[in-house]
Symmetry: C2
Subunit: 233 residues, 2 copies
């Protein structure tokens, strides 16, 4: 499907590029849609494209030796994934799966590598992105150290809260929230455990379901306290 330069221009990382370069990239890119549960990037193979997420939510997942699913990170609209191949020639280390129906743009690695050579600011930006990924993985790992499991779930929920709402601490809404199972694999807990924590949060009016595609957070302050361990669930 057709990819316009304007579409590429909506992604922060590509914005600094001049229109001619964007057009050039757009010509080589393809727009791909995936249904929920669709496999966007495959683990173990050498992916030859970076995946920009235009709409929806993705999850990076890995599997243990004995086949259990492990959640690594979420990807929100405007972000991208699969950039590891730009930096070395190893295979994609994890699967990337669509949590919702998604609209993505696949840009060939080779094309982006060319652009990197001509625009050093792109190298900087992509390097920074990789650094962010390391920080994110590190933080997610530290969550698993929490002995209090309700706290773990609240931390993960807190991460899903939009940045602007975190400042104001008023009620907000999380769109396309991951399912309990998808949260569970991020935190190394069972699906039932996540359900029970949500049950408690709902009973206390801290969160509230608003249809399948959105979750109301009524009491952000309490959620934050639980996440930080200031108060116990």
């Amino acid at each position: 499907m057709l990819v316009t330069p304007e579409l590429l221009n909506t992604f922060p990382i590509l914005k600094p590029l001049p229109p001619t370069v964007l057009s050039h990239l757009a010509l080589q890119s393809s727009l791909r849609k995936f249904a929920r549960r669709g496999i966007v990037l495959k683990s173990g193979v050498r992916e030859e494209s970076i995946c920009f997420l235009f709409e929806g939510r993705l999850q990076g997942v890995d599997f243990t030796i004995d086949g259990r699913e492990v959640g690594l990170y979420f990807v929100d609209a405007g972000d991208f994934c699969g950039e590891l191949g730009l930096f070395d020639d190893g295979p994609q280390p994890e699967y990337v799966i669509a949590l919702t129906p998604v609209v993505t743009i696949f840009v060939p690695l080779a094309a982006l590598r060319e652009v990197m050579l001509k625009f050093p600011e792109m190298i900087t930006a992509l390097g920074a992105k990789l650094a962010t990924r390391v920080r994110q993985l590190t933080f997610q790992r530290s969550l698993l150290g929490l002995p209090n499991i309700a706290q773990r779930v609240c931390c993960q929920l807190w991460l899903l809260v939009p940045a602007d709402a975190k400042l104001v601490l008023r009620h907000t809404v999380i769109n396309n929230p991951p399912t309990h199972l998808e949260i569970a694999i991020m935190l190394n807990v069972s699906r039932e455990t996540v359900t029970r924590v949500f049950q408690t949060l709902q009973n206390r009016q801290i969160v509230k379901r608003a249809g399948p595609a959105s979750l109301l957070v009524n009491d952000l302050k309490s959620l934050k306290d639980f996440a930080e361990g200031t108060r116990d669930l």
Copy 2:
């Protein structure tokens, strides 16, 4: 203390650099020794140097919100750490601690950034290093998904086995093995649990202590089987 260009040249990542550049870097670098438990890099602050490890073993550690220690990765001699600051202007996300007495070389970030600008192959190499870090963190995360805890410990032990020994599968030795506690925080288990797994491995003659600074692995094949879940401890 004095750092010679020859010393820097022993590190694979710096080897491609011409002697004049190495000399220039050496002048700005400093050799620092740390005792066991010494804090090599501090979390939360902007470190202004990369740390090359000449001798000993380091561990990257983070802390949970409630203060529990979490192990992230090990660093062996010849490798380096603290390179995140080359790619963005954020602070060091984790502590790096000396597991043994160590000899390190601190090279200022600014100096390395200059070198990066002049030698694109350094950018490539450092990017590849960051990519490797991501893969490593991902793999370590997948270990935590293993429901069988003995298997987790065996996997971690397997990671510590020198690469050459993994091919031959004969007995080998792990130098400066981490303590049980240091392994425990890598795997999200208690120190006692690690001790009990080691106890079993020793009873079955699979591993054997050889002084405080080395661990014999008699039966690499069995260790591998346990790590892969082919056989149960």
